[in-house]
């Protein structure tokens, strides 16, 4: 990640701390080579081995406290104004910084709702409490989830440009797949073709390569988040593919639907066409209502209810998630009020958020119709950053 984007995000963080009246945000980590707080790539830009604290204050100051062996590296990375090293324990330099800044509230990265805001491990949390006991900061710790949600969600113009490029490159690959796919091929062959192009162009898959892309052909497929199988593409199948790339650190996440024609067919059967059209229309209706201030579940309900009213089962997931440095990014989710989603469907949509819209329905005996687009939330609505699929793609 470039230093430029990190400094831009730190500046944004200072603004958010002022909006939310939080004195200090501290990212407290160790051994990030083995497990990395997702905030490290956003606001630090390097790794840390020993216990380290990356502190941003409401007044715009920044402090990095790192092990002495990593001082030189942190200075070279040059994203923090004040850099302190220690040899035997982080406690003393940490308390020095706190005593200098005197924060009433210190946001740290734990969250029941957002995995992105939950980078602090329980063991490190206990350690931090131990360092702060007998000081006036012992009761100052609060969750940083609102900060993280806004910071990851509000895309800067540099970030948005990278995301648009990622989408464009992904759609090119979808076009090539449309030309490539033929009856008789297996899901795995299609996936291998896509992975090959992805690697040749120097892109990484946006999520675990075992199921990036996911390819599902015909009825009774394994469902989302599963890898491609040896199932063979046959005439009469509805095929869908879920795929994204990581482009200069930013992800895309898109889905498209195809129908495999029988030798004597020229278009998809009426049931297939109907199912597909309902997916497209549900996306249009959701997008027409998406704007700052709406809550996530309100947008999910529009698509979900529309699909159910047409006589199909509700999709077993949210309508859409934010995209960014990770495929699942940001706070607010366009999802239903299910317990496993915690509070994220209740968070308000903000300007600058990039969401997927990805409803799904099963067309009995044919397969699953899903289309996934990406939109950017503007001041008063939203705009598609992916060129929409409005017609089902036909394979001969």
């Amino acid at each position: 990640m470039s230093k430029e984007i990190i400094l831009e995000k730190i500046e944004q963080a200072v603004k958010i701390l002022n909006e939310k009246e939080i004195d200090m945000w501290m990212t407290y980590v160790r051994e990030t080579g083995s497990m990395k707080d997702p905030m490290m790539d956003t606001i630090v830009g390097t790794n840390a081995t020993w216990q380290s604290a990356f502190i941003i204050t409401k007044s715009g100051n920044t402090y990095a406290i790192v092990g002495s062996l990593e001082l030189a590296n942190m200075k070279a990375v040059d994203t923090y104004k004040n850099i302190k090293g220690y040899l035997k324990s982080i406690k003393e330099p940490l308390l020095e910084v706190l005593n200098e800044c005197k924060p009433n509230k210190i946001a740290v990265n734990y969250s029941l709702n957002s995995s992105l805001g939950d980078g602090l491990t329980h063991g490190l949390y206990l350690e931090l409490l131990d360092h702060l006991k007998d000081t006036k900061f012992a009761n100052a710790l609060i969750s940083s989830e609102e900060i993280v949600s806004s910071l990851r969600g509000r895309k800067s113009s540099v970030e948005l440009n990278l995301m648009k490029e990622a989408v464009k490159e992904t759609l090119k690959i979808f076009d090539e797949v449309t030309k490539f796919m033929k009856p008789g091929m297996t899901e795995k062959q299609v996936a291998a073709f896509v992975q090959d192009i992805t690697a040749k162009r120097g892109f990484e898959p946006a999520w675990e390569k075992e199921y990036c892309p996911s390819v599902f052909t015909g009825p009774d497929t394994a469902g989302a988040h599963s890898g491609p199988t040896d199932k063979v593409i046959e005439p009469g199948h509805v095929i869908n593919m879920d795929f994204g790339i990581k482009y200069n650190g930013y992800c895309s996440d898109l889905q498209r639907t195809w129908y495999v024609l029988h030798p004597n067919e020229e278009k998809a059967p009426a049931e297939v066409q109907k199912g597909f059209d309902i997916i497209v229309e549900s996306i249009t209706r959701a997008a027409n209502n998406l704007k700052p201030g709406k809550k996530g579940f309100e947008i999910d309900e529009i698509a979900r209810n529309y699909i159910q009213i047409q006589g199909y089962s509700e999709y077993p997931h949210g309508l859409g998630h934010q995209v960014g440095k990770l495929c699942h990014d940001g706070g607010c989710l366009l999802g239903p009020k299910w317990e496993r989603y915690g509070n994220v469907p209740f968070i308000e949509v903000e300007e600058g958020n990039v969401f997927t819209l990805e409803p799904r329905l099963t067309i009995p005996n044919y397969g699953i119709a899903t289309v996934e687009e990406e939109v950017i939330v503007t001041k008063e609505g939203c705009e598609f950053i992916s060129e929409r699929q409005k017609e089902i793609y036909l394979i001969k």
Copy 2:
């Protein structure tokens, strides 16, 4: 990671649960694509998006509870005997399993001392407590750090073979560097040469590629955990390089030291030779004392004291760490009793542990001498798995 090794590690875990009289070990995660509990690769072998629990019991039973969209994937991975899916909340299937197993103690992955045993985030810990409140399991949670420490530390024969191969391939690369390095090259050029060979042979760097390898030439270098610079190799420099590869999922971690001859020199100056020999001897002394039952700090002290008695400053880190799937692996550390190391220098060495031995000293006006070897702890002592560097390498 192959299914074979994962099943081997699960079997080992059951044995450890019996040794330590712990009824159940639960790895509780979500969104492991963004931040992954280090145990996932050891005992699960795939990712999980929604809240998921991977449970191993003392009686040898295993349960995976995952989101419904990931059921098919989990069945395909096939590392758990009982696989349960859920749609809206994990609470119900989780309590079902607990009620079936009736554990008195449930080990979960938090630890003040070991980052490898600290994969549970604080937010997920709070969520878990919330699921368990009003049940008899509310007070059953304990730290899994002893389990994790033993499980990662005790290398199976399959693991050990992979690690020996990793070391052998790494030493080959060191040999090639010895032939390649010449006065006038920069640290960055040497590092680029190493990274190029590594990539061509299909290996990954064992740690962040920004400083894998680290290359330090001459006096006043940046010190460990820093990337190579534009500093030029000159006659009279002591050079050291810290480098490792990941080979089929297992890491190596080794260091070697060179001296750059002046045109009229045929061997290293006496001070350089002396510093180098002290490093080699301190490794021999530490290895002669390393065996099961020793505590980490006891071994560190042997090398540390020997170096200090010879009139050099103590090295600013531990003598050695365990190596495995990660470059810094396992529990017990051969380190001093400094606060930042927590309890890990107090843990006992076990048979099957693979440690580095990597003392360091500064030779004034020349540079830093470090040699890092790897040893496997046997029933009654230890054996080197790296062919030792006993003579300083000379560059013309």
